[in-house]
């Protein structure tokens, strides 16, 4: 039963996230570039409000999570194990940033905007999926 409930929660969380991206304007690469392009002459600070609002609400969630022995519908939390700031983190984030600033799309908005059927969005998501698979096949950390 927990499995079905988890699916429903994942679907609902995805829908809230997707609606939030549309409402916030972050589904629009033009708005994102309006923030990232600091020399455009018409800088748009929207992204700071989005990130600020998101962190503001996520922090109480994290504080609640830290008081819980396990999540409501699972036997344990699945949190990122790594804490070290290594070269993969920094180089990877820099590569991601270059792509983000290139077209104005990061993974969430790009996937969400797929449902609007724009060819360039499809191209971006397809290239992103290829990049992910390429990395995992060729560049992933070897478990030695």
């Amino acid at each position: 039963m927990n499995g079905h409930a988890r699916l429903a929660v994942a679907l609902l969380a995805g829908a809230i996230f997707g609606f939030g991206l549309s409402l916030s304007g972050m589904v629009d690469p033009g708005r994102v570039l309006g923030f990232l392009d600091i020399a455009s002459g018409h800088w748009d600070p929207s992204l700071m409000f989005v990130l600020g609002g998101a962190v503001l609400v996520a922090v109480p969630g994290v504080m609640l999570q830290r008081r819980m022995a396990k999540p409501v519908l699972d036997n344990g939390f699945h949190l990122p194990p790594k804490t070290a700031i290594d070269w993969r983190l920094l180089v990877g984030s820099a590569i991601f940033g270059l792509g983000w600033g290139g077209a104005g799309f990061c993974p969430g908005p790009a996937v969400s905007a797929l449902s609007m059927g724009l060819p360039l969005v499809v191209l971006f998501v397809a290239a992103m999926a290829v990049g992910m698979v390429l990395h995992d096949r060729l560049l992933a950390e070897r478990a030695s």
Binding site: G53, A54, Q65, L90, I95, G102, V111, L139
Partner: protein
């Protein structure tokens, strides 16, 4: 100030979604991780369910406001293609994107995510500003 209200409320919804997935399912709402795991064939159903919800976002917006959200793409298709590849490779190598590191990581006060977020913000600003200048 009110022009930024939809952005603030939309952002709060992103935080709500992330908090919900964390507290109820015990998972991080990081879109690149969710998509990457799906492509790698791991936890297929829950990851697919989240992405299905994500796809419904613009449709729900359309139902609520009677129009599609704006999506303006100023980049040419070769730039879109290369950017997509970079985003795919970079988010996997750096273990996250604007959602996982940017929202959840910062909310968890993770130094690792703060370093990642600062790095992709600086790289993003550099790329967007240079591309904006040559356009």
């Amino acid at each position: 100030m009110t022009v930024y209200l939809p952005s603030l409320i939309g952002g709060m919804l992103l935080g709500l979604s992330a908090a919900m997935l964390l507290v109820v399912n015990g998972r991080i709402a990081g879109i690149s991780g969710i998509l990457g795991r799906l492509l790698g064939g791991r936890q297929v159903w829950t990851n697919a369910a989240f992405l299905l919800g994500l796809l419904a976002g613009p449709l729900l917006y359309g139902a609520a406001f009677g129009r599609w959200p704006n999506v303006t793409i100023v980049a040419s298709w070769p730039v879109v293609l290369v950017s997509g590849l970079l985003v795919g490779i970079g988010t996997r190598m750096g273990s996250g994107c604007t959602s996982g590191h940017g929202i959840l990581g910062l909310a968890r006060f993770s130094k690792r995510s703060l370093a990642a977020t600062a790095t992709f913000l600086v790289a993003g600003i550099a790329a967007a500003t240079i591309m904006g200048a040559v356009r």
